[in-house]
């Protein structure tokens, strides 16, 4: 069933050592064959050409070994396991570059670490652990508050370098270290780097795959193990490839793309597999949009998502960290367990109806669904560009929302952008101004908020069986609080449009 036709330009960039990282040479394979990869956007040939034939004129003796092509994920894992070759199904011990945890799972992970390695044990590397309180922060729930305190104790004791602490719950701005939603904070603080291995105690850790790294969610026990050893046992996943081509319509966003794909392959369609996204459309996406795409890989059951890093990636990363990195790319002769080609120009805005992320429907076909509220937030849809998009639509519409519209910026930085950055095409207005004019709720303190319900006093929690259009990632029964709540997952454009009509709405009503 695997299609091994590779449609990539057999374009090989010249390298110089100072520009090595721009050109993405993978340096660990012994063979002298250069991996086919994508170079800077401008120089890529957009023609689809057929696969480059294996080099027949070289006998195995001259290359040293029969060269087996590997996918990006296989290469990242092989390198992290200090092996020259891995194949899907191999179980290998992998070196972890970054371990992330938050307030909900951190205490449990450290609890296990201490229980198993001893009360006086030290973590394997206090600079490779990032602790980001984000889930249940702005609440009076004592257990939730206690969890942040527990993390503070652990971080102090272990000298953890990166602990984005919060002590003043009444005013998030009074906390200089506090960031907010872990997956967005990881990216913004420069912890996501191409070619690395990142594990986190949260299913949406896969978001970081947007940076061309291996990133996946793990439980407390695995995290406890990593805390002590810096290693994790992983089974190498096979890769499903999704090639998205075509110009992105102006009303379409990365959220529509991933909902489209999940609707196609189902919530278990990528179980145990890597989802690799490439193609001209992907290359045109910003980092935040790529993050949205990879964020919901777990909703298809995927182990991790990856996007080949390019100039967009390097620009973003180099502005946030000086830690060196080495990107890798799938070989021309790598094997993929599935190949999907998507012509993005033909797609329309979609939603995921209750109660499953794969319950896909066209937004325009749901316009009879009356809604009670709209929620814009979370690692999936609460980033700066997500708010910019919603603001752009509100401004274009020039109307007020018909239902309560809750805005939860993912991080402090996003919150500041919402209040400071001018929205293009609006004569210099900020998102915050536009939201106010449209009658939305005031943007609230940054955190995961009601995406996953949370303690009863969580802002915007679904405490009644209402219908909500949300830019979040899951809509199983009870996800945002009430078991009978009905959640329609949507892009920021679609969410904003729905807020204006009081029904599920196609953003083209306001954007064309």
């Amino acid at each position: 069933m695997a299609s091994s036709v590779i449609s990539s330009s057999p374009f090989v960039c010249k390298s110089s050592s100072s520009l090595k990282k721009d050109l993405g040479f993978s340096s660990f394979t012994k063979s002298s064959q250069i991996s086919i990869h994508r170079c800077q956007k401008k120089s890529i040939s957009r023609k689809i050409v057929s696969v480059m034939a294996p080099q027949k004129d070289r006998s195995p003796g001259t290359t040293g070994s029969v060269k087996t092509g590997m996918t990006m994920t296989e290469k990242i894992l092989a390198r992290a396991a200090e092996k020259s070759l891995v194949v899907p199904g191999d179980n290998i011990w992998v070196n972890v570059d970054v371990l992330m945890t938050h307030d909900v799972c951190g205490p449990g992970a450290f609890g296990i670490f201490k229980r198993e390695f001893g009360e006086k044990a030290k973590v394997w590397d206090p600079e490779k652990i990032v602790v980001i309180p984000d889930h249940y922060i702005f609440t009076t729930d004592k257990r939730a508050n206690r969890n942040v305190d527990i993390m503070r104790e652990h971080c102090k004791e272990q000298n953890i370098k990166y602990f984005y602490d919060i002590t003043d719950l009444g005013n998030f701005k009074a906390n200089p270290d506090y960031k907010g939603v872990c997956h967005v904070a990881l990216a913004q603080e420069g912890h996501c780097r191409p070619g690395e291995v990142l594990v986190g105690t949260d299913s949406h850790t896969c978001t970081a795959g947007a940076f061309g790294q291996f990133a996946t969610g793990i439980g407390n026990t695995d995290a406890g193990f990593v805390l002590g050893t810096g290693k994790i046992l992983l089974k190498v996943p096979p890769t499903m490839r999704f090639i998205l081509d075509g110009e992105m319509p102006s009303f379409l966003q990365a959220k529509d793309l991933i909902l489209q794909i999940i609707g196609e392959i189902s919530v278990a369609g990528a179980t145990y597999k890597t989802m690799e996204f490439s193609g001209t459309t992907i290359e045109s996406l910003s980092m935040e949009e790529r993050m949205t795409l990879c964020n919901m890989v777990v909703e298809a059951g995927g182990k991790n998502g990856v996007i080949p890093p390019d100039a967009t990636t390097f620009d973003y990363v180099e502005n946030r960290t000086s830690v060196p990195f080495e990107p890798v790319y799938s070989d021309g002769n790598a094997s993929f367990v599935a190949d999907y080609r998507i012509d993005v120009s033909k797609l329309e805005p979609v939603v995921a109806k209750p109660h499953s992320p794969d319950n896909r429907a066209l937004a325009r076909e749901c316009k009879d669904v009356k809604i009670d509220r709209v929620y814009i937030g979370s690692c999936t849809g609460g980033k700066t560009e997500d708010f910019m998009a919603a603001a752009k639509l509100f401004h274009a519409a020039g109307r007020k929302v018909k239902v309560p519209t809750f805005l939860v910026p993912a991080t402090q930085k996003v919150w500041m952008d919402v209040y400071a950055l001018p929205v293009p095409g609006t004569g210099g207005k900020t998102c915050a101004q536009i939201f106010e004019e449209a009658g939305c709720d005031t943007p609230t303190s940054p955190s995961c908020g009601a995406c996953l319900g949370g303690p009863a006093d969580t802002y915007a929690r679904l405490n009644e069986p209402q219908v909500c259009v949300s830019t979040t990632n899951r809509n199983f029964p009870g996800r945002m609080g009430h078991k009978e709540g009905q959640i329609y997952l949507a892009s920021p454009f679609t969410a904003a449009a729905s807020a204006l009509t009081g029904h599920v709405a196609d953003p083209r009503e306001f954007l064309q």
Binding site: E116, A121, R143, G217, I218, G453, K483
Partner: protein
């Protein structure tokens, strides 16, 4: 490859010599590929664990002693089953609001058990744990496809184990839930070959029996039907041992826990 991991972290306690125990006449083959559909772990030349092949299912040791590496005995067990359908996500297994409880704290773990499966919608008439009680009367959970999808929060398999469930028998699993079940040793994630959830009803009396070849059998005494279950493969011994730590410890990959 079986180098002890404490070399990577010198602050870990003194190393143990790799275990030389061979506690049974069976030695697992030194290197074997996993059945990719059902298992997630493969440990290389390890001493044979307590996995005797004359098997039945393990009785879960008390929570406070998990990870101590003690040998667990296997036995066939009988009990009532609780039947669920497809895509039971982690928020239905344990609503997110309860995840402020810390699974590694024994009192919290007990409480998690009392909330197990309370997130199920009204469609399910029966309560897995009767409100006010701490444990469930059901020993086996039967599910459909993609059991445990959603979050990576370990509270999900932990609460099921804490409530007293011994095994889940589902058509297929979401990978993080499966992995967490194996890592914690809380519950056996068994895979059926057919869609058992359509043929069983909550309250049916079932037996889960392990066979010599590593596979297991689910017998429904109420309907008089038997179902072959897929072998756990490499994941089995890890769960038998009590999870990844106990297993790694036995293999000499990490030192014993010490509170000195």
């Amino acid at each position: 490859m079986a180098t002890s991991l404490q070399f990577l972290n010198p602050t870990l306690f003194k190393s143990l010599a790799p275990s030389n125990k061979t506690s049974s006449s069976l030695s697992p083959s030194p290197l074997f590929r996993l059945n990719s559909t059902s298992t997630a772990f493969n440990f290389r030349p390890l001493t044979s664990s307590s996995s005797s092949s004359s098997a039945a299912i393990i009785t879960r040791a008390a929570a406070s002693s998990s990870g101590s590496g003690e040998s667990l005995t296997r036995e066939t067990f009988h009990g009532l089953c609780f039947v669920l359908k497809d895509n039971i996500d982690t928020d239905q297994i344990i609503p997110a609001e309860y995840t402020t409880l810390i699974p590694s704290v024994p009192e919290d773990r007990e409480k998690l058990g009392s909330f197990a499966l309370c997130g199920l919608p009204e469609f399910y008439n029966d309560r897995f744990v009767v409100p006010g009680e701490m444990k469930s009367k059901y020993s086996v959970i039967i599910g459909g496809d993609n059991f445990g999808c959603g979050s990576s929060r370990e509270h999900a398999p932990v609460c099921l184990g804490a409530a007293g469930a011994k095994a889940v028998v589902a058509e297929s699993y979401a990978r993080i839930f499966f992995r967490n079940s194996v890592a914690t040793g809380e519950i056996y994630p068994l895979e059926s070959e057919v869609r058992i959830c359509d043929e069983c009803k909550t309250g049916d009396v079932v037996t889960v029996e392990h066979k010599e070849d590593g596979s297991s059998l689910l017998i429904n005494h109420t309907t008089r039907k038997e179902y072959k279950l897929k072998p756990l493969g490499d994941a089995g011994p890890v769960i038998d041992e009590g999870g990844i730590f106990a297993y790694s410890r036995k293999a000499g990959m990490i030192p014993a826990a010490s509170s000195a």
